[in-house]
Point group: C4
Chain length 220, copies 4
């Protein structure tokens, strides 16, 4: 939120920043909550315990995607503390970012299903599909960062150039990690699931450090 | 958001504008995110790849509707930077607009299903249905614009008359485009799907230009 | 939103008012949007047209509930322009109000199903059930109004006593109307559906008048 | 909301507090509203009345979870009136809290299903599962309180130490109560359902008292 420009005469600009955040928060909050709709209650009499235990891969996929969207929200949130104005280009790139994130419940569901009901080939298909969507998320972040670098007037005063260098590097690392995830999946699907589930945790950990330093420099 | 009137004594008015935006953002954010619930994971062992590939028309319908709601959100957002007060008439017309938009996941689902499971006649039915809902969205925008033109005191100072002329023209073009989409669909359903999927992109492109000029005049 | 008390030292109070509105807006926006999940696409090859037409009662139920939640949102919104502070009692009564509203997609689904698949008795059951939930919504409004009348310090200065007299009368009229709806349903279910669908429209119309007068006195 | 720090130069900090609340409100509002998706309309001709009556345990589970999320929202809301800044640690603990809450529709569905379709063993499994999730909610609150106690600079000035003592005690009581619920369930499932359904009501009642005193001291 562009708190420091509250009294700015450019009213359209302020409104845009606030509403883009509100809309993005809404989409991310809904996406993260809709994930639960893929957890289905057992219905067969006498089989509730096994019905719950058999869904273990579904839970892993659920947790991975929950952490993913959570991390993306934190990222998005921290990025917008550095943005003072929104132009059309940023608006559309932000929509692409929301698209790649809000579609995540679908590959999550495919992933859980493949490891619960599918064969080895199905699991590989599901992991490649999940990695593709995760990679498209990374790409959409790169689109946003590139646009901001080329339109510096959108940024809050005092945003260090190193911010974007570091964030872009994280996106490239994410792309590489998803490529590795695909390779691992082709070799051994269960190991691929393990990599896919750890990826968002890695994102979260690298973000935490960044976040606290960003806060210190911004809020001090 | 009526930022410039923050200290305005008319407290009811201010509150209404802010909350109408918040509620509309909520409905649009939920609508755009619920679209994902129509993407279903394959469940048949060994058939995940074909199960995913066969849903291609479902993905097209998903993307078209995602762009539609995204464009509508951007439109809504830009319109409200020009509105300083909300009266009952605008409140109800806004609800009609939200109705036509939030029902979109239904014709989207019909469209995807028809091209995945239906015959030629089903596809035509689905395209006509989708075009009808899209046309009703255009009509609801016209209702909003007509009301605002007749109640100029609701508008922010300095809104050029040309804004509404251009926006209304876009709505009429949208109505005409949906009529064409129906004609194409009756001739060749696949071509109709193509037109239906490109329509929101066209909207987005014409909006982008408008948006950046609006921003320049509003925020400069 | 308690705009006039923005600089009030009682920070807890301000926050509560704003967040209660935000949470309520969220629940109502989600409830109104989730209604669409009960509109199901036909899936049988060659039967899409009849599949869509046969769902006519489902559409009627959808529209009625959409208008209901829309009207409730407008009511809620107008009420909170008159509220400056929220205490625990109001918080819990507001949650009851949100409960009765957010459960509405369930009786809506029952109503649509009964008129599409059920017999005369099923339709009567569905109408009585729908009327019971609608009546509980009216009751929850009465709870809110009674609490506010007994805790006048929660209200914005200058709220006329006539506001609550009129609003309470509307709630009682709503209760009576739902009782009539039940009687009509027991005599002739289709006529009962007609009454049930018109009720929210009646609410909307009586609100519109109230709303514009409230706005005039509040914003003038 | 950190109303008192609106003009604070630390813009990043302010934004974080506001957006964390907005995102949390969104997730909780969606979670509480998604519960309704587990209430399914009967579809068998002539059996609507019995179809509705047979779902009684589903309604009990729905109400219990609705009150749970409602109480958690009130708690969350009151807690954040006492928080002036958000660091990464609080951000992640808040995400854990949202995770344990937004997953609640799943054990709710399992609980309703077990008492409608399952045998005695299924009901015990469902109750233990529900109690585990409820206990994890209590634990996530403890994580939040512990972090805040260790990082007092995040708190609003004037927050009494007794606030956290009391809140932590409530979390421990909640943990103990869920353990008791499990024991009762192993003895007699129906009694366990009764305990599980009353627990959130107990939370609500103890919160109400706290809330009004917090309000008095904060808003006076």
């Amino acid at each position: 939120m562009s708190g420091g420009r509250r009294e700015d005469p450019g009213r359209g600009t302020l409104a845009e920043t606030t509403r883009v955040e509100a809309f993005s928060d809404g989409v991310l909050a809904i996406g993260i909550t809709l994930l639960v709709l893929d957890l289905h209650s057992p219905e067969e009499r006498g089989q509730f315990l096994s019905g719950l235990v058999d869904q273990l891969p579904v839970y892993v996929a659920y947790l991975a995607s929950f952490v993913y969207i959570g991390v993306i929200w934190v990222n998005h949130h921290q990025l917008f503390t550095r943005i003072d104005a929104v132009d059309s280009g940023l608006l559309w790139r932000n929509l692409v970012l929301l698209l790649t994130t809000s579609v995540l419940p679908f590959p999550t569901s495919v992933l859980g299903n493949a490891f619960q009901h599918g064969d080895r080939h199905d699991q590989q298909v599901a992991l490649v599909f999940y990695a593709l969507v995760a990679a498209s998320m990374c790409l959409s972040w790169l689109l946003v960062y590139r646009h901001l670098s080329a339109h510096e007037w959108l940024l809050a005063a005092g945003t260090p150039a190193s911010f974007f260098v570091r964030e872009r590097r994280r996106s490239w690392v994410g792309l590489a990690a998803n490529a590795i995830c695909v390779l691992v999946a082709l070799w051994q699907p269960v190991a691929g699931l393990f990599v896919a589930a750890l990826l968002p945790v890695f994102y979260g950990l690298t973000n935490a450090g960044l976040g606290s330093s960003a806060r210190r420099s911004g809020g001090g």
